[in-house]
């Protein structure tokens, strides 16, 4: 059952991503991208990452895409002409993308068991059975303390300094956006 739902949403994600890059109008592209992000949120739920799914909808499909749509409407780009590159560039791009896709798809041959066996050949790992204890612990913690608790513990303990640094990044982004968007630059 889970697999069927996964493949439905995976097909929806790939289809809407394809339509997103092929649509002429940036507005329609943005709406298809929203559809891709909703499909991905559903897939996150299937992968036991419910909180990530929630912030995917809130931050990506909500905040970031509204920003995009706002700029598209502000610049009045709703009905643009075709902006595909020339035929030779398109051919070369498709070759590059095809190669990239084949390389990335080769990664999918990694099953958890094979990954564990290969990891066990590293000096730091000893037993394939214990290679993925961290993942099991996280799932157990999610069952006892809740999904948000399992995520908050590492975020505010192990990764506290990076978390604080992101606040500086966001401040810099706010200041940068305000300065860049000012009329007399």
């Amino acid at each position: 059952m889970t697999e069927v739902v996964f493949y439905i949403f995976a097909a929806a994600a790939v289809l809407s991503a394809t339509l997103c890059i092929l649509q002429r109008s940036p507005m329609v592209s943005a709406l298809w991208l929203v559809s891709t992000m909703f499909s991905l949120a559903a897939i996150y739920v299937l992968l036991n990452a419910q909180f990530i799914a929630a912030i995917q909808v809130l931050v990506y499909a909500g905040a970031i895409m509204v920003l995009f749509l706002f700029v598209i409407m502000l610049l009045n780009l709703g009905h643009a002409d075709s902006d595909l590159r020339g035929p030779s560039t398109v051919a070369a791009s498709l070759v590059i993308v095809g190669l990239l896709a084949v390389e990335l798809l080769a990664l999918t041959r990694y099953t958890p068991r094979r990954l564990a066996t290969e990891l066990s050949q590293w000096p730091t790992f000893t037993d394939p059975a214990t290679a993925f204890v961290a993942g099991q612990l996280t799932q157990q913690e999610g069952a006892t303390r809740g999904v948000v608790g399992a995520l908050a513990a590492p975020l505010f303990q192990t990764y506290l300094i990076p978390f604080e640094i992101t606040s500086i990044l966001l401040l810099a982004a706010i200041v940068g956006a305000v300065v860049l968007a000012k009329r007399d630059v």
């Binding site: 790939v14 997103c20 890059i21 592209s29 943005a30 990506y60 990239l100 990694y110 956006a177």
Partner: protein, 98 residues
Amino acid sequence: MLLGPSLALSALLFSLGVAGVLLRRNAIVLFMCIELMLNAVNLTFVALAQLHGASGYVMVFFVMTVAAAEAAVGLAIIIGIFRHKQSVDLGNINLLRG
């Protein structure tokens, strides 16, 4: 577990994002394709977090933060370019051509 199918979907979405960046000349669509690639990488993190623990989820957090900052600054730059050129077509943005 769905590890293999998730990685395959992530690979396809990333390739589609690269295709969009290479094929389109509209700066805003290009930005959206970059967001698509970031989403594909997020899917990889979430899929592998099932094996490697909650660090993957934390990394998705940071990727989303950087994506939000990048979108804000990038769109501000696009608005600035539009004021100068009255266009967001990358073919017209050639001030740095030597």
